[in-house]
C-alpha cells in the first residue's frame, strides 16, 4: 500500500490529531527515503521531512478534500528539499565522512572513489546521483524510486510533462555512463 486511506487526510484536515499522527507514521519512511536520496545526508533529510510535515499541518486548511494527498505531500517535501539544498550549497564547507558536497561535485568530472572506504554499490549510486543537477535528480527519484506518474510529478514540480521526460532521460543517461565507469573500476 503506497497511498493512505483518503479518509485519514480528511480527518486530519478537520483537526483530528490522531489522523495526523497516522499520516506521519504512514509516510515518514517514504518521505525520509526521498529526502535522503535528494539531500545526500541523514541530518538534512530528517530536517526536510520534519519541516515538510509541519508545513503540511499548517497548510491543511488549504488542502482540497477531493485532491490526492500523495502529490500534495511530495510537493511540499520537494520544496523543502530544494530550499535546504540551496542553503547547503551556499553554506556547506566541511566535508563529512562519506559525503561528497554538491558544491564540489562537477557534472563533467569523473567520479573518484577511494577504494579504502570500501564503498558498496548503494554508496556508489548515491555518490553518482549527487553529481546530477538537482532538477534531474528530483525527477529521476520521483519517477523511478517513488514510482509516481509523470502527471503527479508535474503537479509536484510545476514542470511540464515533456521537460520532465527529458530530465529523467538525461538523468538515466548520465547514471548509466557513470555507473558503468564505477563497475569497470571495481571489476564487477
Amino acid at each position: 500500500v503506497t497511498e493512505i486511506d483518503p479518509s485519514v487526510p480528511s480527518r486530519a484536515r478537520r483537526g483530528d490529531e490522531q489522523a495526523f499522527l497516522e499520516i506521519v507514521e504512514f509516510y515518514y519512511p517514504r518521505c525520509l527515503r526521498f529526502a535522503r536520496n535528494m539531500m545526500g545526508n541523514e541530518q538534512d533529510a530528517e530536517e526536510a521531512v520534519q519541516d515538510a510535515f509541519v508545513r503540511v499541518h499548517d497548510s491543511f486548511p488549504r488542502f482540497r478534500e477531493d485532491a490526492r494527498f500523495d502529490p500534495w505531500l511530495f510537493r511540499i517535501l520537494a520544496n523543502r528539499c530544494r530550499t535546504l539544498l540551496s542553503r547547503a550549497k551556499r553554506h556547506r564547507s566541511l566535508i563529512e565522512y562519506g559525503e561528497v558536497p554538491l558544491a564540489v561535485a562537477s557534472a563533467a568530472a569523473p567520479i573518484e572513489v577511494d577504494d579504502d572506504f570500501g564503498a558498496d554499490w548503494a554508496e556508489e549510486v548515491r555518490i553518482v546521483l549527487d553529481t546530477l543537477p538537482p532538477e534531474q535528480k528530483e525527477a529521476f527519484l520521483l519517477r523511478h524510486v517513488e514510482d509516481l506518474s509523470y502527471e503527479d510529478i508535474a503537479a509536484i514540480t510545476g514542470a511540464g510533462l515533456s521537460a520532465l521526460r527529458m530530465r529523467v532521460k538525461r538523468a538515466c543517461d548520465t547514471l548509466r555512463i557513470r555507473l558503468a565507469e564505477v563497475e569497470q573500476r571495481n571489476g564487477t
Binding site: V49, H144, V145
Partner: protein, 210 residues
C-alpha cells in the same frame, strides 16, 4: 519497464529504493515539532484582553481599578473625542487611527503592560526522552523554575519515547528529566551541564532567537 530503465538503472533504483525502517522516535519528534509550531503560531492576546487581565489581578484593588478605568476613559475621551475634529482640521492624526480593526482601541500611554513591545519572546522547543520503564517523566529546568508540576511529558504510544514542548527564551538553559518523581536524568541527546545547582545530572539547552 521503460526504455531508459536497463539493468544498470534497475540496480541503481533497487539500491535507492530501500525503505528506511519505521522510527517511532522520529515520528514523535515530528509530532512534537508540529505541536510546538502550533504553540508559536497561537494568536497573541489583544490589547484589550491584556488590559482586562491586568485589571483582574488580585493585587489590584477595586478602587484603584476604578481609578484606572476612569483615567483610561478620560484619556480616551481626549485622544479620540473632544479634540478629534481639531486634530483632523490641523492635519494631525491620532496614533490610534492606525490600529488594525477588530480590536478595541486603547488610550495611548494608559495601562498597557510594558512587556509586549520589546520583550524577548520564548521559543517552543520540543524534547524527546527514552525511558521505557518509567511511569512518569517531567521536564525540569530554569525555564520553568525547576517546578516538577509544570511540564509533564507525554508518552508516545504504550512504550514509546516521552515528549514535551517547553517554552524557553533565547539563551543558555539548564534542564533535566525527573523520572518517577525521584531520579534526575540528563538528556542523552544534549551536552552535559557542569554548573548544576539542582543536585543531579542535567543538560544544556541553547535556544536561538526565532
Amino acid at each position: 519497464m521503460e526504455l531508459e530503465r536497463d539493468e544498470t538503472i534497475e540496480r541503481a533504483v533497487q539500491a535507492l529504493a530501500v525503505m528506511p525502517p519505521r522510527d517511532a522516535q522520529a515520528v514523535s519528534r515530528v509530532m512534537a515539532a508540529v505541536r510546538a509550531n502550533g504553540v508559536s503560531r497561537a494568536p497573541r492576546p489583544s490589547r484589550l484582553a491584556l488590559v482586562l487581565e491586568w485589571v483582574r489581578q488580585p493585587s489590584l484593588s477595586v478602587a484603584s481599578a476604578g481609578a484606572l478605568a476612569a483615567a483610561a476613559l478620560v484619556l480616551g475621551f481626549f485622544s479620540r473625542g473632544a479634540f478629534g475634529k481639531a486634530g483632523a482640521e490641523t492635519g494631525t492624526r491620532s496614533a490610534l487611527e492606525g490600529q488594525p480593526t477588530g480590536e478595541y482601541p486603547v488610550p495611548a500611554g494608559a495601562i498597557i503592560p510594558a512587556s509586549n513591545s520589546n520583550e524577548v519572546r520564548a521559543v517552543p522547543v520540543p524534547l524527546v526522552f527514552e525511558a521505557r520503564n518509567a511511569k512518569t517523566v517531567v521536564v525540569v529546568g530554569d525555564f520553568n523554575g525547576w517546578d516538577e508540576s509544570k511540564t509533564p511529558m507525554v508518552r508516545y504510544g504504550t512504550d514509546g519515547p516521552w515528549t514535551a514542548t517547553v517554552l524557553a527564551k533565547p539563551g543558555r538553559h539548564v534542564y533535566a528529566f525527573l523520572v518517577d518523581g525521584t531520579t534526575l536524568v540528563a538528556d542523552p541527546r544534549a551536552p552535559r551541564a557542569k554548573d548544576l545547582d539542582y543536585g543531579g545530572d542535567a543538560s544544556v539547552l541553547m535556544v536561538t532567537p526565532p
